[in-house]
């Protein structure tokens, strides 16, 4: 039997991190605060026309800029670093000796999600137990 355990893979940790709310909504908030930053930049003109108080506009600018940069940083960190874990084992070695390698290590993030959902579905419907019983 080959060794296949998704919970002992790096990519499983990535899937867990990706679901963390700070990372999960980073893209949405990055866009939202970017648009707010643009709007607050435009409101500088209204500040000069004395339609908006100066402190309010400056505060809005500072908050939207900081929040935009923060969520941009989080989004980029997730996409460029966390979602690209380095694999130290070679697939050629694993194929020759499948017992001593966790084959789930070679799954991509999307493939891992599909496999995890399938396992969850099978456990929920007790398909795995039926299969084991037949065997």
């Amino acid at each position: 039997m080959f060794n296949f355990n998704i919970k002992k893979t790096d990519i499983f940790w990535v899937a867990k991190i990706e679901k963390f709310p700070l990372f999960a909504f980073a893209n949405f908030f990055e866009r939202l605060f970017f648009y707010l930053f643009i709007v607050s930049l435009m409101s500088v003109a209204f500040m000069f026309l004395e339609l908006f108080p100066e402190t309010l506009v400056v505060k809005a600018l500072a908050v939207s800029l900081v929040a935009w940069l923060l969520f941009l940083e989080l989004h980029l960190f997730l996409e460029l670093k966390i979602k690209k874990p380095s694999l130290e084992i070679k697939i050629s070695d694993a194929v020759l000796d499948p017992d001593n390698y966790n084959l789930a290590e070679f799954l991509s993030l999307s493939a891992l999600k599909i496999v995890a959902d399938s396992i969850k579905f099978c456990k929920k419907r007790k398909i795995w137990k039926k299969y084991k019983g037949k065997k």
């Binding site: 919970k7 002992k8 893979t9 790096d10 499983f12 940790w13 990535v14 991190i17 402190t55 400056v58 505060k59 500072a62 908050v63 800029l65 900081v66 940069l69 923060l70 940083e73 960190f77 460029l80 670093k81 966390i82 874990p85």
Partner: protein
């Protein structure tokens, strides 16, 4: 998973932000500079600055023909001057593009490195208002 769990995410972010990304940005910057040099061919244009425009050149007469000799000389000289003018224009555009790429690259890398400090400064600024 065991390896990743041991790895602190803040240290991971710190290394990514201050080492891996600047390294990547430097490589992108280098590629843009090389692309600019290749696209505008500034070194080649400098080497061939006084070459005839579009290789338009005339052969000098074989016999003793002063009129034809000067006719060819003036035509070839004009071809070379025209070539030089066009190349100088392209060199100026190329150099300006290189300067733009150079300054933009420095600005992007500096801004990237300063991003966390801008955030901290922004929060402090907001709190003091």
């Amino acid at each position: 998973m065991e390896k990743s769990e041991r790895e602190n995410i803040i240290i991971m972010w710190f290394l990514w932000h201050f080492y891996e990304m600047p390294k990547f940005l430097f490589s992108v910057w280098r590629n843009y500079i090389l692309f600019g040099l290749d696209y505008f061919s500034v070194p080649l244009l400098l080497k061939t600055l006084f070459s005839p425009w579009r290789r338009y050149s005339w052969v000098y007469p074989k016999g003793f023909d002063v009129k034809e000799f000067f006719n060819t000389l003036i035509s070839n000289t004009f071809s070379r001057i025209l070539g030089a003018i066009c190349r100088i224009v392209l060199i100026i555009i190329g150099v300006m593009a290189q300067i733009f790429i150079f300054i933009t690259g420095i600005a992007v890398i500096f801004l990237w490195l300063l991003t966390p400090f801008i955030m901290i400064f922004g929060i402090l600024f907001f709190l003091t208002l």
